[in-house]
Symmetry: none
Subunit: 207 residues, 4 copies
DNA sequence: AATGAATGAGCCTTCATTCAT
DNA sequence: AATGAATGAAGGCTCATTCAT
């Protein structure tokens, strides 16, 4: 299939798909998506040869859009601050685009997303992983792949998000406390890093 | 008297449904499930008037089967040991019955499980929640509903499970370290309980 | 099939069938009829080997129940009075048992009632027909089979009934005027019979 | 531009439906209709979203096709001639298109035709009704809604038709005598019009 | 004889995909 | 390239009928 040029159309389809998959589940028909995108039934298939292609591409797109929000790795801030920033970005994404977040969750557990697609998406987060790698170094997870900490990050952020959506008034405290929980989870030694007071206390003791 | 209603048949359908939903997603056809259960197409509908009923009942059943594995609350053991036991049970359930676990995960995010079904299932875990409530009391999550800690428990155990299934050789370490992460996540004061060294340090300071 | 003896049960099924066929059309399921008759699904088929048998037997039964209401032919009353009586009976039947009447109408146009059943039912009205035969003798229908007048009788009574059910307050006038229309329809000379005034008028003229 | 919507196809489906509903009753499957119309199963549902829609539209179509045969109201002919013409048209319709007529009869008593559809169809015959209104003015039906005479017209024509189909050789006499019966049924004064002898008799009296 | 569980053909409808225009 | 009509496989569900108890 000669790659059709109208990129807006593709975008429209993807956006419509998010809304419909969020509202009706992944079973939403291609026809309904096409209609919502103001596009003919058949046109959808010029951009996505198959519904599975649409699903996979949407998954990638969604992951990428999240990824795009993440600040580039900076060396001016502490590890904790960098991860906290990523955490906030993630929460914010899920909060401001609940449909996107929900569809991502559904696609994540779907049979129809290929291993390849998953792997590609994971790779996009490699730099976040490198931060995690450092953060995990002294903690109880140090002997396991960094991806473990990464998965924990996502799982805990998702959980936090679900409660924020349920109780928006608690957004700030949930975000902060959720991150605190995550930070505690992955590192022991890290706590020292973030709390120089401890060493100070020790000093105090000494004195 | 007519042929008595065969309860094994219902069981067979449920079991077949687990396998097929795990293999093909929740879209697996009722016909394929019936076939796998060695039952006629129509028979399935004598036990579950609707596919949605099957889905909901399966969800309840799965949650209950997990719940049944959990030891009753004991007062002889520490909070940490009790939660660790629940953690191990959860991991073991997911490891020995991966299909059941995966289907539970899919049902959990499905549109087709009613709020009622979810609520009923949640209620079955109320005693685990009471343990969590105590565990959370001094931690950073203390100001949030206990359900938050509960959700974190499940999310982190699921994540751990995924890595165990990927690397069965690391089952024991992953289980232990995953739990350590969880335990750290929910409690600050708790860590004192498991790490008397801290108080010793304090003593040292004093001296 | 050894004829089962419990005749009440058969009756119950037939009665339930009338209600359900009236409420839901002839598509009402045998199971729903059995339930309404307080009888097991399979029991129905001991009395009626087939749904078509039930349909046909119900048709016969309904026609017979109507027939049973008709007064036996009397020689004390005029032709007009006899037919008027039959007319009233028919209207009354339809009015007091609308379900029975409606189901009869539906069965009458159904593919599933055999020619044999129809013929048998028609035969039951042979004596009414003999009355009609006489009434028709001098009218415009005299050259056609009496069944024609009979069919007209039923068709016109049904029509009248429909309007009575719609406007019960007009029951009496509709009944009378409907019959007047019928009587006019089938006979010319008959009108003399019902209006002795005419001859009187003639006499008056003479005088 | 996509393939234009083929209106012949809709027509073909409607025609096939008439045949099949006539042959097998309204229970004939949409699949069999589609096949008979040389159209794919799914195509039928592009034209009729539901079997009920098909049923209702068919009913309207059938009534309209009958209506189309009726001559426009003329003022050159007597009331009797106008109604006789309508009668003949009706009979002819039923005789030349027995399937259409039969299906109309079945649809008329079906639960699946909406009140709306019925009302719309009835309205199409308003001008016939206005003729009937005049014809009824002096007869025994004068105190009832014109629709009563209209229903009688249809009922009596249907009955006549049934006998014509049974004995085609008598078509002409049945048509004429059936109408005579109808004409007598609805009007008393009308009979004067067709039988000047009466007034002559009166004159005779006077003399 | 009565029961009601079991059956499987069949029904209406949906939908991803193709293809004539 | 875009359209949307057409397709037919498949899905969920119903139901008359059979048959073990």
């Amino acid at each position: 299939m000669a790659r059709p040029r109208d990129d807006d159309k593709k975008r429209a389809i993807l956006i419509a798909a998010i809304r419909l998959f969020a509202d009706e589940g992944l079973g939403a028909s291609t026809a309904s998506i096409a209609r919502a995108a103001n596009v003919a039934d058949g046109t959808l298939f010029r951009y996505f040869p198959t519904k599975d292609h649409l699903l996979n591409e949407l998954y990638s797109e969604l992951k990428l859009s999240l990824r795009a929000r993440l600040a580039p790795v900076s060396h001016d801030t502490s590890l904790r601050e960098q991860l906290r920033s990523a955490w906030d970005v993630y929460i914010d994404w899920g909060f401001t685009e609940p449909a996107a977040h929900q569809v991502t969750a559904r696609l994540s557990v779907s049979t129809r997303i290929s291993a390849r697609t998953r792997a590609d998406a994971a790779e996009a987060f490699s730099d976040v992983n490198s931060r995690l790698k450092a953060a995990v170094a002294n903690g109880p997870l140090r002997r396991h792949p960094t991806a473990f900490a990464g998965a924990l990050f996502a799982a805990m952020a998702d959980t936090t998000l679900a409660f924020i959506i349920d109780t928006p008034a608690e957004r700030e405290t949930l975000t902060a406390d959720g991150f605190a929980a995550f930070w505690s989870a992955i590192g022991r030694g890290n706590s020292n890093v973030e709390m120089p007071r401890n060493s100070q206390q020790e000093k105090d003791c000494i004195s």
